[in-house]
Amino acid sequence: MTTTENSLKNKSPKYWLSLEQWRQDPDFQRLAEQEFSNSPLREDSGSEGGWARREFLKLMGASMALASFGCVRRPAQAIVPYVKRPKEIVEGIANYYASSFVDGGETFGVVVTTREGRPIHVTGNSSHPINGSGLSARAHAHVLSLYDPARLTGPTKNLQNEKKTNHDTVEVTYEKADQEIADQIRKGKVAILTGSIVSPTDAEIVADFAKGTGAHVYTWDAISHEHYVDAQEHCYGQAVAPRLALEKAKLVLAVNCDFMGTWLQPTQQMRDFSKGRKPGDGMNRLIVIESLLTLTGSNADTRYRIRPTQSTAVLMGLIQELLVNKKTSSYAGDTSVHAILKNYENEIKAALPEAAYAKIAEELLAHKGQSLVLGGNDVSSQIAANFLNSILGNDGVTVDSRRSPNMGFQGKNRNLQALIDGLNKGEIKTVIINNVNPAYAAADKTGFVEALRKAEMAIYVGRCKNETGKYCDFVLPDHHPMEGWGDVEGQKGVFSVRQPTIEPLYNSRSFGDTLIAVAKVGNFGALAKADSVYTFVKNRFETKLHTNWTHALQEGVVDTVTAARAANDSARPFRVAALQMAAHKATPHADLELVLYPSIGLRDGSMANVPWLQEFPDPITKICWDNTLIVSPKLAQDRKICEGQMVRVKVGDKSVTVPAHIQPGLHDSTIGLALGYGRTDAGQVANNVGVNAVHLSVVRDGGVETSGLPVMIEPTKSYETLANTQVYSAMSGKTREGIDMGHRQIVVEATLEQYKKDPSANIEREKIVSAWSGFSYTGYKWGMSVDLNLCTGCSACVIACQSENNIATVGKKYVSQGREMFWVRVDRYYVGTPDEPDAVHIPVMCQHCDNAPCETVCPVAATVHSPEGTNDMIYNRCVGTRYCSNNCPYKVRRFNWFNYPRMTPELHASPMHMQLNPEVTVRERGVMEKCTFCTQRIHQAKNQAKLEDRKVHDGEIQTACQSSCPTNAIVFGDLNDPKSKLSQMLAEPRYYGLLEELNTRPAVQYASKIRNTDVLKSEESPHKEKHHEKHEEKGGHHV
């Protein structure tokens, strides 16, 4: 062992990407040091065409000269102009339509980019009050779901036998289907099963239909917020889903509530939270107490770990501190409250140290009416959180239940259970299912399928024939949201239009129109006289909202609560009796507790067949193409579980077997498993990817419990390779004699106090002596800034970039070989010990260095510097030496090892190619590619400016990542213009360049992360050293 190695052994890096790096694992070193994993030329090319590539090249060399002899290539191509060109279409120029999109209960105002009639990209609608210009990764992937090859092409009838086991289908016409359905409905006993309806038009149509047919409507959501809504009802008598007014909160306490990841409206919540994130006086503070390491937890200023079942206890502890010890509220003398608290006494002590309660309570008190307490996904913790919000005076201020609460999230498992009971008892004979998929996503899915089989007729309206559709008699294709009219009222008073952006691709019909058509045939009530969804929508905006229809279509949104949103309400009276429901039940803690959580990429699994989402690296685990059992390092060590080892997970009598992933930051008695995987009838992409964990959830008192489930785990002897994108692309790379590269300055953190003393705190500036003067830029000089203080790591930019730049998905096999193609990756660095780390997210794209190391090593000048400061990649010149990638210190270059559409045809099946952006070259096999700063958008803006004889305005060019960012962490602009927003931002001393010491002079500058906390994890050194030794002794948990 050399001295360097020795010294490294004793000192783990301050910021680390994975446990392997923290342990200084030789495997990690090996992977980090080599730019590419094993050359695939031999192993794989055989399957591509029967020729090993090099042999093929040898033969090619000889045959080229002969083949090209006198041969003039004249590829016959056709130009097919329109017969009658729609007047809004100009070939080569995009059209933009304001529309909206609903994902679960989360709503987005979007602008859809279409080219020659094809939607190709989605951006946020900046005038929309809910999400603004920000979007989620899923909202971006929404465009590809339009071209999902698994979509239904026309109405079909399933040829079911008695037991409904036969899944053969015949095509039918809508007329015939409508007639049969109407005849059946006349017999009565009709039920409609739907997800939360956030469209006022759909709600109206469904209500009319129910009135006309006597149907009963059952609302059920795959990812339920029923506990949140139920707790509101218990505490305040209103079954609402309040909006979290985070922009008014100076202190946020989230207890097992992932409000940035999947809870309610995460995009809006991140956006609102970021508004108070400006470092300086009045910067907000986020305390997270949680079991898993969620996206919210990774952004916490202070984070504590608890068991899932301790959520209520922690909140009760704070109530005790505030009421009993500090006597702050009028409830202080309430004996019933005291009795409940008394019950929790032991629990409270077990959950957190006493000092923590005192400290948090003090902070909460200091921010009365300016704080927000969020509970977990169970009724009792929600009730406790409500009580805290009430006694702190937050209700009506940061908890907005009247002015503009969320309209979705009304689905309940009780409703589904009622439907199942009705079917079993024969009280329901006909079921119409609107787009939900209980046969996959219900906690009691077997019960549902059995009950569905008893229905006389089941009608499924949806985009794909999925797990539920195959048990239905009629399967009627629904429009994709981009194909039909609609409206959305995501939050009370915020009305968005949904307008079609493409002619329906297939013979589909929207759910509303289906109900209208059936009502017409059967002459059911008022709906029989209705025209279509379009007239409903138009009527709503014109006569009910008194807006100009054209204006509404252009703007996409009518906000009737702009003023109300900013104002405050009076607090609602809290029903103390509700606290009884949160009273402590003497259930002993299980040894291990399981949390089933919706993953940020797949959520309820409804868009699982979109390859972008399958390949979307989870913002925390960075794993794609699988759901993994996440276990803490200590638990892994105790139970001898290795990374990728298959583990049998047993809850009661149900079990699944999944690969394990060792996740720092987890509570040691908690394990987690993502939902949304394990689809069986979703399509070629999603089928049998991961396991469906939903049936491990427990139904108790009619509600679904997904966290704190007592669980047994049993490691097996088999292993699975996980597609983890954070193993590669380590900028801390090589360890050379004398240079400790593991401790390079990549992410910089400072506490708020440090920042106030010195805005450039903790940034180590290098004194660089350069031998040459560098480029001079006379026109524009493009640059970018990324504010790490605003970046939450949500990774919407990753999918936005993929959508804009035609980036190929490559599949699990190639991702696990390090061949993913993302142009922007979001690195997640841990800091501190593996048990209790903080995390920092840093988006890394091509840094467009002035002194670019890649440019100097390209033997064919395929990557060159432009006069505007960008580093250009010229695909047609590239011969694939990969020297550039080897020499890139940021590891942002991606090589096309294969012809991916041929190697992974299921990920590129027709008609997914219709999404491709015609402004961006589709790269072929054998060429290098990387972030271009969205050069096509730069070109477009420059051309437009040229045509109008002006310069490009500041802010006119928005890169795809920038426009997708919910927190506006990314800013792009002209560095040569001293008045540009970017130039002014970069004048702040908080900005630094990545690996500045290499004198690459990157055009991307990062702003340090400011934590509103006392001490940084990176500065708490003694504890870390001790822990590290402990690991070493036991030999770690090595694969």
Binding site: V72, R74, Y82, K84, E91, D872, I874, N876, N943, L947
Partner: protein
């Protein structure tokens, strides 16, 4: 043995001769490999630019409307043809079968599959609008289209062709790679 030697010699000579012809052709621009200069495909309707643009004097931009604003000059949709051909059905006093073909396509909503004449590879991004804005005449690249009965690709549209013009100082045009390749 002798037969084999003769065959070998003939083959060798043949290949050498062929190679010489090849080199001659390449160096004297007799053959332009990979480009489509002078490519002149037959079209489904023998539309004559010589008649429309030449004799009748229609402005190019009457049909190719988007050249000033878009990357594509665009082949006109049939409704543009029908602006005139709604009434014009005869050529030299006789009913024209070709105009009938056009009217038929328009009436039955059948798009016409024109053969693409000017070809740029996918990795080249050309934009008409800034070139028109810079005052270039269509003919500078497309040749005397107003004299062509059947349109052909007049220039090679090779990279050299483009760069020659971009390099001239008076054009003040960019020459960095990503001007066209991205």
């Amino acid at each position: 043995m002798a037969a084999k030697k003769i065959i070998g010699a003939v083959l060798g000579l043949g290949i050498t001769f062929g190679f010489c012809v090849f080199v001659y052709a390449i160096t004297n621009n007799k053959v332009v490999i990979g480009y489509n200069q002078n490519y002149e495909p037959t079209q489904p309707i023998p539309y004559s630019h010589a008649l429309h643009a030449g004799k009748l004097g229609l402005n190019c931009k009457y049909c190719h409307t988007t050249a000033e604003i878009s990357r594509h000059a665009s082949v006109p949709p049939l409704n543009v043809c029908m602006n005139c051909h709604l009434t014009v059905r005869q050529v030299n006093g006789k009913d024209s079968p070709y105009i009938a073909q056009l009217v038929d396509a328009y009436m039955n909503d059948k798009p016409v599959q024109w053969q693409k004449v000017n070809l740029l590879p996918d990795h080249v991004k050309f934009n008409h609008a800034p070139h028109i804005k810079a005052g270039k005449q269509c003919q500078e690249c497309h040749g005397p289209v107003e004299t062509m009965d059947r349109v052909k690709q007049y220039q090679s549209f090779s990279m050299g062709y483009c760069v020659n013009c971009h390099r001239r100082p008076e054009n003040n045009a960019p020459t960095n790679c990503s001007t066209c390749h991205y």
